[in-house]
């Protein structure tokens, strides 16, 4: 049997707030197979953000297990977690989090700077390659402020791809974008998922976005309320084509 992208078993996360204990996650179990496109949904306070932090190896569970690509993160220290993030996770944030006054190419190169096995020329090649994957190779020398929101998010996706991660972890990645641009991003995500077999975990609170994924996990009050396979995900490309064409914007 093939290795799972991630395995979560009876995961709990509690925070101490003064004398009170807040139980943000109350026992969550699920697996993600390689090549799946999972959306995690939930309203605010559902434990979505806590789960995201744990999935992203930024935080550790209080109780329970989390295996990312077969690695038990409970056994890792701060530095080893950083290393793991560098090698196995590609983050895409709501606010893009690109470095200002830094070219698209250099932004994409950033994760590779923290990987000492990668040479200067390889770094450049891989970053260019990742920019090609998001169709921004001719904008490689643009600064973030010279790019539109959608383009900035595509640079961020390229940055998430560049280290060839086990999983792309997107946090409300379309939250700052209008619907057309959101569809573009989702179309890109779907393409990466279907043609390149990238595992994508997409945290969102918009049901609209969840419809593009092959599986939706619904969180509520720190437990999984629903875990549904979506046999017929909507195609973002078709949605995009169906939108009226505007003059002021072209892909």
């Amino acid at each position: 049997m093939s290795k799972k992208a991630l395995e979560i078993k009876e995961l709990k996360r509690e925070f101490k707030m003064g004398s009170e204990t807040v139980r943000a996650l109350k026992g969550i179990t699920f697996d993600v197979e390689p090549g799946e496109f999972v959306t995690i949904m939930g309203s605010s306070g559902s434990g979505k953000t806590t789960l995201l932090n744990i999935l992203g190896c930024l935080d550790k569970p209080t109780i329970g297990d989390y295996f990312l690509d077969g690695v038990d993160i409970k056994k890792l220290n701060r530095d080893e977690l950083a290393q793991l993030r560098n090698h196995k996770i590609g983050f895409v944030f709501q606010a893009y989090n690109l470095l200002a006054r830094t070219s698209a190419l250099e932004n994409v190169e950033l994760p590779l700077l923290y990987n000492k096995e990668i040479s200067v020329s390889e770094r450049r090649d891989r970053a260019m390659h990742a920019l090609e994957a998001v169709k921004l190779e001719n904008r490689f020398d643009h600064m973030p402020n010279q790019l539109s929101g959608g383009q900035q998010q595509r640079v961020a996706i390229a940055r998430a791809l560049v280290n060839e991660p086990v999983m792309i972890l997107a946090d409300e990645a379309t939250g700052n974008l209008d619907s057309r641009t959101s569809y573009e991003i989702m179309a890109l995500m779907q393409e990466l998922n279907s043609t390149q077999g990238k595992t994508i975990v997409f945290v969102t609170h918009e049901p609209d976005i969840a419809a593009f994924s092959s599986r939706t996990i619904q969180l509520r009050d720190g437990i999984i309320q629903k875990d549904t396979k979506n046999e017929n995900p909507r195609s973002a490309k078709e949605m995009l084509a169906a939108l009226p064409v505007t003059d002021d914007y072209n892909i």
Binding site: N53, R78, A82, Q83, F91, L113, R159, N163
Partner: protein, 406 residues
């Protein structure tokens, strides 16, 4: 993470904020430039003070006959006669640290010009004496070795004597005066030296060849003193040793016997000199220290602001795989780059401002290598020292909170 990546990260981060990086550097730039300029000015004035003090003859040595026991009676050194031409010959034999030598004999008496007379001292010396005592001849010429050989009746005259026996401003050169019964022709006038620290008038003097004074006035073969100059002020002690050894040999003293002479140096002048320059050095070091500390605090301040302002960037870097150590080294590297670049610019500016000071104000300046090296090293250390704290703060941020920071 390897060094070139680290350097690249820090370098790019600094380029992103060129103006701020420059403003941060400014403290260091001004600090280093002022240190270099100040030390250069300090060294320059130290050198000129040194030159002035040397003009008093800091490397001068004097040999006097010492008091000695003679059949149980202590005899005063000055009346004890031990120094002769044999000693001069011994001292002149392959000198190592001694450059110039002059015997000296002196006689008190009246200088007489017609109806005017003045009590003064005639000192008999060799031509080297003028060099040793840093005396110079203002008008006329000094006497020569030939005058010494012929015991010529020529003399150099001090300003005080001129004032008293040539009160009407006549030119004394070529005039014949009498000292005691002996007529002397004045061939030169000494530049005035004023009073020395003991209140002695150094211009109340006549200088003649020592042979003349010995044979024509005192009828003696002994010298009252021997003057010598050491090769430099720094080898004074060696010169003293050399003279002592040679004179002991010349006087055939046994090991058990005490010296029958004393070699004196200008310790007091040397002490003055070193205390003056010591004080300058301390002052400049303090100023240098203060300005670099201020520069360093500037760096720390900006690095703190920078860490706070770039919290989100730090969070991002951590989320994509930067370890705490990587963040620490990045910020430390930025601080060091700032301080070293500031140091380089500061050194250049220091050179430039030193040149400007010399050209416009005409102050003597000497740029010392050690001040350049020192301020540069202090810069780098300052960068590390003051950069470490903010960098450590950055490295300890929690990536989750840092990412959410607005």
């Amino acid at each position: 993470m390897n060094f070139s990546n680290l350097f690249r990260i820090a370098y790019r981060a600094l380029l992103r904020n060129k103006l701020r990086a420059f403003l941060t550097m400014l403290g260091i730039i001004i600090g280093v430039a002022s240190v270099i300029a100040m030390v250069a000015i300090g060294q320059g004035s130290k050198q000129s003070i040194h030159d002035q003090l040397s003009s008093m003859g800091t490397n001068m040595l004097t040999v006097q006959p010492a008091s000695n026991l003679n059949g149980g009676v202590r005899i005063a050194g000055t009346s004890f006669q031990t120094l002769t031409s044999k000693d001069i010959d011994a001292l002149k034999n392959h000198p190592q640290y001694i450059t110039e030598l002059s015997p000296s004999v002196s006689s008190k008496g009246q200088a007489i010009n017609g109806a005017l007379n003045w009590p003064t001292t005639m000192t008999g010396v060799s031509p080297e004496y003028l060099d040793i005592r840093k005396l110079s001849v203002k008008d006329g010429i000094p006497f020569t070795q030939n005058d010494v050989l012929t015991s010529a009746k020529v003399c150099l005259i001090g300003q005080t004597v001129i004032d008293n026996i040539f009160p009407n401003g006549e030119n004394p050169i070529g005039k014949i005066i009498r000292f005691g019964h002996i007529p002397f022709q004045i061939i030169g006038v000494l530049s005035p030296k004023g009073f020395n620290t003991f209140g002695q008038d150094q211009d109340d003097i006549l200088i003649a060849p020592y042979t003349t004074v010995q044979k024509r006035i005192l009828a003696t073969i002994y010298y009252s003193n021997i003057y010598a100059s050491a090769a430099s002020e720094d080898v004074t002690d060696q010169a003293v040793q050399e003279m002592t050894d040679k004179l002991r040999a010349s006087h055939r003293l046994r090991d058990s016997e005490d010296n029958d002479f004393t070699v004196r140096t200008q310790q007091e002048l040397i002490a003055t000199l070193s205390s003056t320059s010591g004080l300058l050095t301390v002052l400049l070091t303090v100023v240098a220290g203060i300005s670099l500390v201020i520069g360093g605090i500037g760096i720390m301040n900006i690095m703190y602001v920078s860490v706070t302002e770039r919290t989100k960037e730090i969070g991002l870097r951590m989320s994509i795989g930067a370890r705490g150590k990587d963040i620490l080294l990045q910020f430390l590297m930025e601080a060091i780059l700032i301080s070293i670049t500031g140091g380089v610019i500061g050194v250049l500016l220091g050179f430039l401002s030193t040149q400007i000071v010399t050209l416009t104000l005409g102050w003597p300046t000497i740029i010392s290598q050690s001040s350049v090296v020192l301020s540069f090293v202090v810069c780098a250390v300052t960068g590390i020292f003051f950069g470490y704290y903010p960098a450590q703060k950055a490295s300890r941020l929690d990536p989750i909170e840092a990412l959410r920071y607005e």
